[in-house]
C-alpha cells in the first residue's frame, strides 16, 4: 500500500481532486487544502488545512511554504498529487527532498495555456498532465479529463 498526499487549493481545484480520487483506491490518502470545512467531505481520511495563498499575496506564500515543509516531512508520502495551484506547486518541489513520486494534473480551466503553477512545476514533477490535447509537448501529456 502506498501513502498518497493529495493537495489542492479550494473551489475548482478541490472539485477536480475529488473527481480523480477513485484512482487512489486501495492506498492510504492524506488530503491537504485551504478550507477548514473540506475536512467533513473527506471525513474518513486525514486532512490538513493550509494557508490560502496566490501570487497576489507574498507573505501568505511564505507561510504556506513552511506549513507544507512541516506536513511533508511528517507524513513522508510515497506519492504527491496536485490539481493546483500554489499549494500543489510548493508541495511537489518540497517532495523532491523526501523522494516522493509526484503528479501534476493541470486544471481543466486552463484551455489557452498551462497555468503559471503548472509551468513552474514542470521542472520538478514526474508526471505532468494537461486536460487539453492541444497543450501537450515532450514533458506534458494528455490522459483524459476530469469530466
Amino acid at each position: 500500500m502506498k501513502k498518497i498526499l493529495a493537495i489542492s487549493s479550494s473551489g475548482g481545484h478541490w472539485t477536480q481532486m475529488r473527481r480523480i480520487a477513485p484512482s487512489f483506491s486501495g492506498n492510504e490518502v492524506v488530503y491537504v487544502s485551504t478550507l477548514k470545512g473540506y475536512a467533513k467531505e473527506v471525513s474518513t481520511y486525514k486532512y490538513y488545512q493550509v494557508k490560502d495563498a496566490s501570487a497576489w499575496s507574498k507573505l501568505n506564500l511564505i507561510i504556506l511554504f513552511f506549513q507544507l515543509v512541516k506536513i511533508l516531512f511528517k507524513e513522508r508520502p510515497d506519492v504527491v498529487i496536485s490539481t493546483g495551484a500554489a499549494p500543489g506547486l510548493f508541495a511537489i518541489i518540497i517532495s523532491r527532498f523526501i523522494g516522493a513520486r509526484t503528479i501534476w494534473v493541470d486544471s481543466i480551466a486552463n484551455y489557452e495555456q498551462i497555468s503559471l503553477s503548472g509551468r513552474l512545476v514542470k521542472y520538478f514533477t514526474h508526471l505532468h498532465l494537461t486536460q487539453w490535447e492541444h497543450l501537450t509537448n515532450q514533458k506534458t501529456q494528455f490522459s483524459g479529463k476530469v469530466l
Binding site: 502506498k2 498518497i4 479550494s10 473551489g11 475548482g12 481545484h13 478541490w14 472539485t15 477536480q16 475529488r18 473527481r19 480523480i20 480520487a21 477513485p22 484512482s23 487512489f24 483506491s25 486501495g26 492506498n27 478550507l35 477548514k36 470545512g37 473540506y38 467533513k40 467531505e41 490560502d52 496566490s54 501570487a55 497576489w56 506519492v79 498529487i81 513520486r101 503528479i103 494534473v105 486544471s107 481543466i108 480551466a109 486552463n110 484551455y111 489557452e112 497555468s115 514526474h126 508526471l127 498532465l129 486536460q131 490522459s143 483524459g144 479529463k145 476530469v146 469530466l147
Partner: protein, 174 residues
C-alpha cells in the same frame, strides 16, 4: 443548525431562489450589482449570494461573505437557479447536480482576475453545449428575464473519465 433551518424556511419557501456563486478569493461586484438591481423589483425571486469579501452594501439580496462547504452545498442543491462566475468549481458542481446554471466570466479588463481563463473556459464549455454563458450585462438580463426557459445541461458522473483514472492508478501503484 437552528439558525440555518430558520433561514431555510424563510428563504426557500416564499419564492424561487437564485443562488449566486462568486468563489472565495476575490469579490465580483460587477455581477452582484446587476443582480441586486434586477431583484429589487422581483417578487417571484429572491437571491442568496456568497460574495467573497465584497465591500459593497447590497440591499436586496441575502449575502454571506463565506459559507462553509456543507452549508454552501445545501444552498447550491436547493436553489432553483445558479448564477455564478465561470469558475470550474461552479461549472462542475452545476453539471454534477443538473442545475439551471448561467455563468458570467470574470474579466481582466475590470481587474476581476489575473487572466482571462474564465472567459476561455466559458467559451470552451459553451461550444461543447454544456454551459449557458452571459458575456455582458445585456446577455445576463436576457437570461434573468427568462429564467423559466434556462435549460439544465446533461448530468455528469461525480468522477473523472476512466482513461484519466486508469493512468493515475497505474502511475500511483507502479
Amino acid at each position: 443548525m437552528g439558525a440555518f433551518n430558520k433561514s431555510e424556511d424563510t428563504i426557500f419557501r416564499k419564492s424561487s431562489v437564485i443562488f449566486v456563486v462568486t468563489g472565495t478569493q476575490e469579490p465580483f461586484d460587477r455581477l452582484l450589482l446587476i443582480l441586486d438591481k434586477w431583484v429589487s423589483n422581483q417578487d417571484q425571486y429572491s437571491i442568496i449570494a456568497q460574495t467573497a469579501r465584497s465591500e459593497m452594501d447590497f440591499k436586496h439580496m441575502t449575502c454571506f461573505d463565506y459559507l462553509e462547504p456543507d452549508v454552501f452545498n445545501k444552498y447550491f442543491i436547493n436553489a432553483d437557479v445558479i448564477i455564478g462566475h465561470a469558475g470550474m468549481g461552479t461549472i462542475i458542481k452545476g453539471l454534477e447536480n443538473e442545475k439551471k446554471l448561467v455563468v458570467f466570466p470574470r474579466l481582466v479588463k475590470y481587474n476581476e482576475h489575473r487572466n482571462d481563463h474564465q472567459y476561455h473556459t466559458a467559451k470552451g464549455f459553451e461550444k461543447l453545449g454544456m454551459l449557458n454563458v452571459a458575456y455582458n450585462e445585456n446577455e445576463l438580463l436576457k437570461y434573468l428575464d427568462n429564467l423559466q426557459s434556462i435549460t439544465e445541461k446533461e448530468r455528469i458522473d461525480k468522477k473523472a473519465e476512466q482513461k484519466l483514472l486508469d493512468a493515475l492508478y497505474i502511475f500511483i501503484n507502479k
